[in-house]
């Protein structure tokens, strides 16, 4: 079944996010940004612009699409240099400057490495940019991803200088910042803010559920003209009708609706599709809604409840004791002695339970701390005997009760204890 393998490969590639999906909407935004960049390339007009939108709305995709589009025009490709910076990679101005120098291939780059001190590099870069002018220099497009992180650099030197150059008759610059913070303008220092042109493009995920389902469908359907890898057109047809059917199934729509309600990010949708696509095999040739239900459950699982499934009965007892303490003292922190006391009371009351030594209980307590189900409140630097260290429980009562329902071979006493009202 080579065809199936090919289909799987194509879909996997799509899931990985390497291939840009078609963006829905954003026509106006695209045009605005396109025009701005085009004018920089053609007229040498300096600009600064911010693309703002929550994560996963397609800011980078939009920019990439526009650049791909512009690069088709030779006039622009040859007249535009692009510098990519990412706030997560260039964590301070020093690194950012080196990166810029390197990408611009200025004269002080030797074999792709930049020497010299920070001050020298800054001076050189500024002088270089100053040496250019509007008409004869090659415009530079600066793409700053995670723009908000650049605003945390010391004095915002880089941003100040970029915006300042963009506001003066030097080398034409187009500074495009991408960020998910809506209040990014407030992060800018007043002088930097004044120099920023205040063009902002907001991108919001405006998809309706219908569009969401459509996106889901197009991601899974095979395109007959373009996918060269899949030659069996019969299979492709069959596959596409199956996907269409799937997208109309009510169980499937239910899952999609839930996904849509929590997160309409495309990336999350792709993640949801990864497991079903991976499950395709000879015996399981088409995607089924049950696969997606599994996958969704997998994604929406409560991680802490999952951890609770794996702990020992003693540890479970301790967790219950802690939750009781929480109820008694209204969320006040507790220490080991309190928990141990609670546990002892329980074990004495229910004689059928196995009793553990204090040391063993202590060990179990420490294990819970390692699992980060409980958290010490004070600083570790303060030396307090560990029995008396104040702790907080990082579990909600509902999570504990939920776990007990599923816990294998859970003694009924414990269940009862957990569900019992504390103050009786």
């Amino acid at each position: 079944m080579e065809t199936l393998d090919a289909v799987q490969a194509v879909l996997r590639e799509r899931m990985s996010g390497l291939i840009c999906p078609e963006l829905l909407g954003f026509e106006n935004e695209t045009k605005t940004l396109h025009d701005v960049i085009e004018r920089t390339a053609a007229f040498g007009e300096s600009n600064s612009i911010l693309l703002i939108g929550p994560r996963g709305t397609g800011k980078s995709t939009l920019l990439k699409k526009i650049l791909d589009d512009l690069n088709k025009d030779k006039r622009i490709t040859r007249n535009l240099q692009t510098v990519y910076l990412n706030g997560l990679l260039q964590t301070d101005d020093k690194i950012a400057l080196k990166e810029i120098t390197q990408q611009l291939e200025l004269e002080n780059t030797v074999d792709g490495r930049v020497f010299g001190s920070f001050a020298e590099n800054l001076r050189f870069l500024l002088d270089s940019l100053k040496s250019g002018d509007q008409l004869s220099s090659k415009p530079v497009l600066f793409v700053l991803e995670e723009f908000d992180l650049f605003a945390h650099h010391k004095n915002q030197t880089l941003l100040y200088n970029l915006f300042d150059i963009a506001q003066s008759a030097q080398t034409p610059l187009c500074v495009v910042g991408l960020t998910c913070r809506l209040d990014v303008i407030e992060l800018l220092e007043k002088r930097v803010k004044s120099r920023f042109s205040h063009r902002q493009i907001y991108l919001f995920n405006k998809q309706s559920f219908k569009e969401f389902v459509y996106v889901f469908q197009t991601y899974l359907q095979l395109n007959q003209d373009k996918t060269i890898e899949v030659k069996d057109s019969k299979f492709v047809k069959k596959w596409n009708t199956e996907v269409e059917k799937l997208a109309k199934e009510s169980a499937m729509l239910d899952i999609l609706r839930r996904q849509f309600n929590t997160n309409k990010d495309i990336r999350a949708l792709l993640n949801l599709m990864v497991i079903p696509v991976g499950r395709l095999s000879h015996t399981h040739q088409y995607l089924l809604s049950s696969d997606f239900i599994d996958s969704f459950r997998h994604h929406s699982i409560d991680s802490k409840a999952a951890i609770l499934h794996g702990i020992s009965v003693l540890e479970l007892c301790l967790v219950i004791a802690m939750s009781h303490l929480n109820e008694i003292y209204d969320g006040e922190p507790f220490n080991f002695e309190m928990v141990y006391n609670e546990y002892r009371k329980f074990s004495e009351r229910r004689s059928s339970m196995q009793k553990f030594d204090r040391a063993v209980v202590m060990k179990a307590f420490e294990h819970l701390q390692q699992l980060e189900l409980i958290m010490p409140l004070d600083n570790s630097s303060v030396r307090i005997q560990k029995e008396y260290r104040l702790m907080a429980l990082l579990l909600d009562k509902s999570q504990i009760l939920e776990t007990l329902q599923k816990y294998p071979n859970c003694p009924t006493e414990i269940k009862q204890w957990a569900q019992s009202a504390v103050l009786t």
């Binding site: 605005t32 025009d35 007229f43 040498g44 007009e45 300096s46 929550p54 994560r55 006039r75 007249n79 020093k94 611009l104 200025l106 004269e107 002080n108 020497f115 020298e120 800054l122 050189f124 500024l126 040496s131 250019g132 509007q134 220099s137 090659k138 415009p139 530079v140 004095n155 030197t157 100040y160 200088n161 506001q167 003066s168 008759a169 080398t171 998910c180 913070r181 809506l182 007043k190 002088r191 120099r195 042109s197 063009r199 902002q200 907001y202 919001f204 995920n205 849509f260 309600n261 997160n263 929406s300 699982i301 409560d302 991680s303 802490k304 409840a305 980060e372 990082l394 909600d396 999570q399």
Partner: protein, 923 residues
Amino acid sequence: MRSSKSKMGRKDVKFINKKRIKRTVNWLGTGIVKDRRLPNQFYYTKCDFGTFDLTVDDFVYVENKDSANEKDTLSEAFVAQLTYLYDTGYNSEDCNRAVVKWYYRKHELNKHIQKELLDPNELLLNREDDTSSGDIDIELILNKCWVEKIESDEELNSFLGDDLRSSGFFVYRSYDGHHLNNLEYYRTSKQHVKTPRSCRTSVCTPQSRSRPSRQLRGKSLSVLEDLTIEDDIITNDVIVRDIITNDVITRDFKYSVKPLGMTSKCEPLPKNLRVSPIKTAKKKIDLKSPPKSSAGYKRDEVAELLGDDEISSDTASSHTESILNVSGPVQSSRRLSRKSVANKSVTKNRVASKKTDTDSDISTPNSRQSSPPRNLTRSEIKRRAVSESVTEGIKRSKTVVIEVQDLTSRKSSRKSLPFEDKKAKKTKPKPKTPSKSKKRLPHRDLSMTSSDEQSDSDFDNDSFEFDSDDSDFVVKSVSKVKGSAKKNNTKHKATTRKGTRSKSHAEATPKQTKATVTPSRRHASFTPSMPKRKEVCSTPGGALEQARAKLHVSAVPESLPCRDNEFSDIYSFVESKLLDGTGGCMYISGVPGTGKTATVHEVVKCLEEAVQLGDLPDFKFIEINGMRLTEPHQAFVQLHQELTGQKVTSDHASSLLDKRFSKPAARRQPTLLLVDELDLLWTRKQNVMYNLFDWPSRPQARLIVLAVANTMDLPERIMINRVSSRLGLTRMTFQPYTFKQLQEIVLSRIHGIQAFDEDAVQLASRKVAAVSGDARRALDICRRSTEIVEEQSKGNKSKLLVGMVHVDKALQEMFSSPKIVAMRNTTLQEQLFLKAVLAEFHRSGLEEAPFSRIFHQHIALCRFEGYIAPSMSEVSAICCRLSSSRLLLIENGRHDLHRRVRLNVSQDDVNYALKQWKNDTTD
């Protein structure tokens, strides 16, 4: 060449420093009172100034205190001609004064004038400066210098056409700041000015010698005659002569050859004794040089050769000893200098001996010798010392001369590279072609050639053709020695090559490596530049595009509207300081975008125009921006680099600048310093700001500081008292633009372009004036409006006008908060979470709630609204997403359930947005 210069320079500095205490001015002749009101002010025509005399009309080097090159003071010193010498009559430190006429050296001139110069050594008479700046303290005079005055074109042509002319200065034209003029009407007394030709022809007549040479000759005589003279003075004298690199002085030595020879003949022994007592010398050799060292060999050879020639006298042996001593490793600087004195004379001696050649032939060795003597590496000194005794030997015993000469030759053959030997030999017969190797190693010429002559059988004896009647004998004996020398030569090459050779390598190679430094480290060598665009930049076509180009903040208008008062205040402040020759500070404040920096730049532009017209003295404008510095102390580095072009560390720059601004200096150019974004220069100690404001108050600094920052009360707020006191009270505040001013600014830019509705501009400027008064904002809004018009017209190009609607849309884009839109576009669960937050706030009455409680609220809401409740992990993810776009503010993730959540939007906004949404969905 370079290194030799700097080496020289260091000595030079030492000399000057030492001299500064010692040098005194003794007036010669009788003083004349020129002004009756100042009866104590005597004018003189001549004075004795330490090591040299000064006479009116002499050319002198005047110290450039602002020179960055500490090591080489002469290369950046000013050149001036003395017009008057006078004593103020007050008993102050600077009572001895000189009035000078300045000359421009190449490095002082602008680039475009530099291109006009015929030669790097051309000077231009300065016709700009008023006489007051020509009144200097005599102490500032470093030395005398030689300047040829050329008065006619023919002279110039012959002068320039003369390849053999020296490296000395010449002056042909004057410069008044605008034009170059010939000097034709400017005549000077013939006494000092000699054309090179006349100098050359007057070789033997002492009467026609130029002044400085006579004087120096006198000194050199005195050195050699009076051996009990203090060492310091000797050293000084020697260095003085080393400093003077030009031809004249060298030529002077040539003249002084004969008397020198006489003196050394008269008193040969005392000198030798002083140089080295024989016994200690022997000891030194035994101790410090292993038996196979060159010194040891030399001794043997000398003895051997002495035996061959059957000549052994006390004088001869003592000579050899002295040679050996000199070549020993321990040499005090005193001895060094003394050697070089003697050595000099030797050189001249040789030169004189060669004078049997044609006129032109003489001068070439001269020019070759002129600079290298400064290149005093240890090995060279050794050789010189040897050659010194050679000459002395000539005078006394002929055979010793030969021995030593032979010795020298062998030594040098070891030291010099073979190809250099050949080159030297090839070029020797044709001295007119200047060869680089010769210039670098001129001192070796003599010895090299002799070694060549020994290895080659054909003997070119013209280099040994001495003027004296001994010459024949010398030549003969050299050829006699030839055979044995050859043997020894090869032996030495095998054994002692390592030590001496590596030395000479080390001497020669670093220069080359320095010249071709690998580019990776030397940033100064890079020229900052940007790649050029491939295609021609399109020019804006339509009215809207033109307007857009004009409205760009970078488009500099011809004049800045609306800042006339501020402009004239700053202008008059700077102008008055420039005219007074004093310094001062001014503090300029104003919110961003009110035209502070632009106004200052405009002022500078106007001042520069005034300078061009000659109304103001020339000044240097330097701009420092706190935002462009990596840290505050870099301000010093940048300032220093702008002033001198040198890169130094910040501490060093600070001390250098402090030195510069605290000392008075001749002809200091006023500096106008713009310190932008002053608040960023704040440091804990505030030393950066302190210095920047302290320097202008120094009397001779001539520094004007314009400090620019945003806040009006910055001096009071962040500066400690001593800093804010120095900043002074000359302050200016740029008020935010009013809407009328903004309107004017916009209209002045788009003047003549039919693109804007009058009301539209008014709307934009009113909106901006109400918020910030930032001109940049107003321009950006108008620019954006033009784009909106274009977008909306969709290709319909006919008669587009920016109206109120478009400006309003642009304003909406820029100023509206996106938060409500953002909330409306969140997912259902996210909105539920926001509601849960509100509910929890409502319940607790606080504006902050722990995540766990909000989670409970969220679950409850879900149940209430009939949705499937999400898990804790999902809710946590929702919370994080909302906080990443900053609708919520949450604590650090490690607190997990207990982290506190706050809203970053007002509760009303949330209610409004979510209610709206509900209506939308139900519809």
